[in-house]
Symmetry: C2
Subunit: 178 residues, 2 copies
Amino acid sequence: MSPDRRIRRTQQALTGALVELMLEKGFDTLTVAEIADRADVGRSTFYAHYADKEDLLQGSLSELRDGLRAAIEDEAGAKASHPALRFCRPMAEHVGDNRRLHALFAGGRGSGMVQELMREMWADFIREGWPGADPLAVHAVAGAFEATVTWWLGTAPELSAEQVVLRFEALMTPALSR
Amino acid sequence: MSPDRRIRRTQQALTGALVELMLEKGFDTLTVAEIADRADVGRSTFYAHYADKEDLLQGSLSELRDGLRAAIEDEAGAKASHPALRFCRPMAEHVGDNRRLHALFAGGRGSGMVQELMREMWADFIREGWPGADPLAVHAVAGAFEATVTWWLGTAPELSAEQVVLRFEALMTPALSR
DNA sequence: TATGTTCCTGAACACTGTGTTCGGAAACAA
DNA sequence: TTGTTTCCGAACACAGTGTTCAGGAACATA
């Protein structure tokens, strides 16, 4: 991709350090010096590549997003009680397998921006499985799912992904098939 | 309430300035100096009353919350398709009448903390109208409502509160009455 | 392998915002 | 009036940001 290997090295190190540190202490309290240190990169080098923390996050996010989307679409053939909810099961399983990561996304620790992007992504998934959907319904379902995940990870972590999916589908299916 | 009038004056001025400024430019970019200036209060005085921005917000929030709750409970007798949704109509009307305020709450501009508290408050309302409710369902409905309001104010502001309520109730009622 | 370009580095700098301290002036309750 | 409490503003130390620059290292190319 990148012509110069040094650029690739540096950027990979920085995004890697960002993810590591976000898992350890969230995004808001992170400093640029901290990220550069962890990446073993000079602080001035950071600014040669990114304008600020948010800029780096933005860049890293599309990667994470693509990875997530791939992980979901692997199991896209799954059956669901309503096509709009096809995303639920693979997504819930991904959440269950990467709880710390998703706690960052769903909870408030991910800098707002992450949260917004995740919600938008969920809305996309719903739209894909549900052509011609009412936009109000799409956002309502996305919000319901996000809140459910947040509640799951924060308050009822003993539940399995399967249990959450079943209860969520049982709740939302009647709303969608009217 | 307060023994000393100066304390009351100062704290009222500060919370007032906070709300004003939050409406103008959100919470995150606010500085303590800015708040103190707007309140016409010395910066050191600010720190004599509050540890930091968040502390002041916390204090102001319970007021706002109480005001909101009162505004809702005035119209608590309203009919709804399901008791758990009784909060929707008065809340949506309050949102419609105070769009700038709620755009702060629902959107990401309110510092995360606000957002969390609002969601918790919505969950409370739902629980009150729906004793013995499944906690997953409560959070799902609260999340759905929050996302709906965010979508409304951000993407479809031309809708009236009445329209939003009708569509939201039509969507969620089948989910709740099973 | 030699050459010219590009990138990385570390230190320095100016700047903004934070939170604390303190002595004198003003407002307060009694 | 008197003694207490609060307010003020200026000063201070500190942490983080974003920029600049000169020298050295890594690179692509021929």
